[in-house]
Amino acid sequence: MAESLTVDIVAPDSVLWAGQAERVSAPTVEGEIGLLANHEPILSVLGAGNVRVRGIDGQDHSFAVAGGFISFDHNTITVVVDEALPDQVE
């Protein structure tokens, strides 16, 4: 199996989700991006939409975001969202 990603999704007053994931997709202002392990480092501004995380256990998590940014380096993803919206497990 491919390497896993360490994901932290943080809101101003709490950590929404933290764990290992297989892949993450996020709505940037320039369009949806999908991130797998060993992607090049990126720092991008998020627009409104859903951040989707496929956990290492195969479970999908989706977070509605209104804005924020995402940073990726050394297989660590930090998603910073402006406001915490409820976690929807699909």
Partner: protein, 297 residues
């Protein structure tokens, strides 16, 4: 019962009821402080993530951003002082205000004009009483700040910073708040919020050089999006720290007040006892001398 005794008893009773209030306030502050500290901890990952991202942009681009450069066109500087809404927290608010006044003197000596912002009723009434002009005030909820308040403060300060010189724009933004070091130690602190000095968190010990990021859409736009959030999160963390400090100060002040009340009660009990004894002694000597007088006649 003599007048003196009655007065002592009265004082003991009123001090006892005050003591109950002090004790209750101490317990309330003690129970809230745990929550307040966990909120400080919960907000940390967010501000860390933002600080890291900001320093990544700052180290890897040569962006000239208005928020990171010094303004020369105005001598006005903004100052926000964060205090409590209520007293009963010892010298908590007074210390923050004293620190703010010190900063004001320093800024004025440097030829700057201070535009005052105040958060917390204590600061607002302090400045109102001295007829100082306040550019912005926020009151309510000083012991449990919400993110929306930080948002509002950030927007107001940001607006002042980006306004033109004729429009009352300011060149710097300073924040005075009380840093929560531990349960027994909180100190007033001044930070300069804008223009940004991105120093803290840039070189984390043992950390390798931040990777060369790809910025999307562009470094400028990323910085544009990040900076307001950074300021907001800094203000929010100041508010949370101030709230934790307020509760810790209140707990300590109320603890002292409770033991002072106990001292007073003890003192008055002694006085009441000796007053009673004096009265008895006097009565006895009156009876004895009365009997003596009768026997002699």
């Amino acid at each position: 019962m003599g007048g003196q005794q009655r007065e002592y008893r009265q004082r003991i009773r009123s001090t006892q009821s005050l003591k109950k209030i002090f004790r209750a306030m101490e317990l309330i502050a003690a129970s809230r402080i745990a929550k307040s500290r966990s909120r400080v901890a919960a907000a940390a990952p967010y501000s860390q993530a933002i600080t890291r991202a900001i320093s990544a942009v700052a180290t890897h681009s040569t962006v000239e951003h208005p928020l990171t450069t010094e303004r020369e066109d105005t001598s006005k500087v903004a100052m926000l002082v964060i205090t409590a809404d209520r007293g009963m927290a010892g010298a908590y608010s007074a210390n923050a205000i004293r620190e703010a006044e010190r900063l004001r003197r320093k800024l004025e000596e440097a030829g700057k004009e201070v535009v005052q912002y105040a958060a917390g009723r204590r600061a607002v009434s302090y400045y109102k009483f001295r007829h100082r002009e306040l550019a912005g005030t926020w009151t309510g909820g000083s012991d449990s700040p919400v993110h929306a308040t930080a948002n509002e403060m950030a927007r107001a300060l940001f607006k002042a910073f980006t306004a033109s010189a004729d429009d009352g724009g300011v060149a710097e933004i300073h924040i005075v708040f009380t840093h929560f070091t531990s349960m027994v130690s909180q100190e007033p602190r001044v930070i300069r919020m804008l223009p940004l000095e991105i120093v803290e968190g840039v070189a984390e010990p043992g950390d390798e050089v931040p990777p060369l990021y790809d910025f999307e859409p562009s470094p400028e736009e990323v910085l544009d999006a990040l900076l307001p959030r950074y300021i907001e999160s800094r203000i929010y963390s100041c508010l949370l720290q101030a709230a934790a400090s307020e509760l810790a100060s209140r707990q300590r002040a109320m603890n002292t007040a409770t033991s002072n009340a106990e001292d007073i009660i003890r003192q008055y009990t002694r006085l009441a006892n000796s007053a009673r004894q004096a009265e008895i002694t006097q009565e006895i000597s009156e009876i004895v001398s009365g009997a003596d007088a009768l026997a002699a006649s």
